[in-house]
């Protein structure tokens, strides 16, 4: 136990120092997550939200919450891993008495921590540009929302591990991630609240893992009525379903790995 604690502290500390070194780059990545804010602009200008029974305030809360959720659930594992596998940097990692995925997971957590000031800054700018649009969630909502963001992040991470293992078979597996991004973009609630979907499409979306990645945490943060137990249960169920698949693929891929550059 104390070993795990020591490793976690060393990993997180070193990765956080690394991320701080590249803070300008991370600021730019944070800036590239403006899509929910652009969609907020379009939705508040159209009557579609009101027609679906949402007040303008609900819409602005929803998209601002979705913006925060998106900022802290970004997963870029596949792009780093593809490069590491192609350049042979994965080989020394495999020799260490620690599964390489933990290192990548720690890097993601550190990147999230580095993002915090930039996201706050962007929210302040939004608040100055449109006074009264920001709000303060109740402590319970905030706590549950943050938990839901981390749960959604883990679900996205596990899902991407599955695609990432394809790097062992293909040199350009990152292109496959672009395909996975499409249902994530349109079914997760990132560009349109799920309440505005036609009922059939909504049912279809809820049967996929995607709405739990944005819609559920965003609605929690925005103070919408939401079934908390169902949300966390769905995320846990998807994780439990996807995790064994990723383990099997990882083992099979590792056997194929020929240590390029060795």
């Amino acid at each position: 136990m104390s070993w795990a604690w020591r490793v976690a502290r060393a990993l997180l500390g070193s990765q956080y120092a690394l991320m701080l070194e590249y803070r300008a780059e991370i600021a730019l990545w944070a800036l590239s997550g403006v899509l929910p804010l652009i969609m907020l602009g379009v939705w508040s200008g159209s009557g579609a939200g009101v027609a679906a029974g949402l007040t303008p305030q609900q819409i602005s809360h929803y998209f601002l919450a979705a913006f925060v959720v998106r900022q802290f659930t970004v997963v870029w594992l596949i792009h780093v891993f593809e490069e590491d596998a192609l350049q042979g940097r994965l080989s020394p990692l495999l020799l260490q008495p620690l599964a390489p995925l933990w290192r990548y997971l720690a890097a993601h957590f550190s990147e999230q921590a580095t993002r915090v000031p930039f996201v706050l800054l962007m929210l302040v700018v939004v608040g100055l540009a449109a006074p009264g649009v920001l709000w303060w969630p109740s402590p319970a909502e905030l706590l549950l929302g943050l938990l839901a963001i981390q749960a959604a992040f883990l679900l996205r991470f596990v899902l991407q591990v599955i695609v990432t293992t394809l790097c062992f078979w293909s040199e350009r597996a990152a292109a496959l991630d672009r395909l996975l991004l499409i249902p994530y973009l349109f079914l997760s609630g990132l560009v349109a609240p799920l309440d505005t979907f036609p009922p059939a499409v909504r049912r279809l979306a809820l049967a996929t893992p995607f709405p739990w990645m944005v819609d559920f945490p965003a609605r929690l943060l925005a103070g919408e009525p939401v079934n908390v137990a169902l949300g966390f249960g769905a995320i846990a169920a998807w994780c439990l379903l996807l995790w064994p698949i990723s383990r099997v693929l990882w083992r099979a891929g590792l056997r194929r790995y020929s240590a390029m550059g060795a």
Binding site: A24, G47, A51, A175, I182, A192, T196, V201
Partner: protein, 267 residues
């Protein structure tokens, strides 16, 4: 001039041959374009659920805007992304030295060295969507295309949009001469330009100003779409051509200035 044509043929021939080594990419790109288009149409339909117009634009008008956005996105994937995202690594590793020493204009080399065929599905989809929207909108939607001059105007504005888009990309990529680590600055641009999927009048006034004067998204899709629909105003057309000329000249000047500040890697 002839030398440039010959070089361009050589550049693009070799890079096409290299890209075609990955046939699976064609399938992925095709599916991705179709999926993105279906998703965008779905969201646009949701936005139209509240009324017959979006910021004063009819359904077929908004489709023309979306088609132009898809077209420009394909152009980005074909030419801008593969070339200009490489400037950063040239600066980082110092291989920009070799580029500057070549007996050919360095901006031309950096902007046209490779081409990727994977943007072509998006270009085709964009053209198809524009044609479909104009046909669907009935005779008055295609009013802009009745005379020769009215066909040339949208074409000129589209060329202006391409020039503006190119200049934005080039300027951001050239900034790496000073701030080496900006390889994702062009990604920021790509994600912000998503705003061009919708007519600029669909946004609140503050964002409208931002998308016209700071980040000229309005000139990329809205202005050419208005000309296609026969609603183009002289003021916006002249403004668009002027902005394009300014952007191109700006990118040229910036590159000249950047070369003077370039000190090569490890020196």
């Amino acid at each position: 001039m002839k030398r440039y044509w010959r070089s361009l043929r050589c550049f693009w021939g070799t890079s096409l041959a290299a890209e075609l080594e990955y046939p699976l990419n064609a399938a992925i790109e095709f599916v991705s374009v179709l999926g993105n288009l279906a998703g965008s149409l779905f969201v646009l339909q949701l936005l139209f659920a509240g009324g017959p117009s979006l910021g004063g634009w009819s359904w077929s008008g908004a489709l023309v805007v979306l088609g132009l956005y898809t077209l420009l996105d394909g152009f980005t994937t074909c030419v801008l992304q593969p070339n200009l995202s490489r400037i950063v690594s040239h600066v980082q590793t110092g291989t920009l030295d070799y580029v500057l020493l070549k007996p050919i204009d360095s901006q031309f080399w950096l902007s046209a060295r490779t081409v990727s065929p994977w943007g072509l599905p998006a270009v085709a989809a964009g053209l198809g969507l524009i044609g479909w929207a104009l046909a669907q909108g009935g005779p008055e939607a295609a009013a802009g295309l009745r005379s020769l001059g009215a066909v040339l105007l949208p074409l000129a504005l589209l060329l202006a949009a391409l020039a503006i888009l190119y200049s934005l990309w080039f300027v951001l990529a050239a900034l790496s001469i000073w701030f080496v680590k900006v390889w994702n600055a062009t990604e920021v641009l790509r994600y912000t330009l998503v705003a061009g999927r919708y007519p600029v009048s669909a946004y609140p006034p503050a964002l409208r100003l931002l998308f016209t004067f700071v980040l000229p998204v309005a000139f990329l899709t809205t202005v050419p779409a208005e000309a296609l629909l026969g609603r183009g105003s002289a003021l916006w057309a002249i403004g668009s051509l002027l902005v394009a000329a300014l952007c191109l000249a700006g990118s040229r000047l910036l590159w000249r200035f950047a070369q003077r500040s370039y000190t090569s890697a490890s020196s």
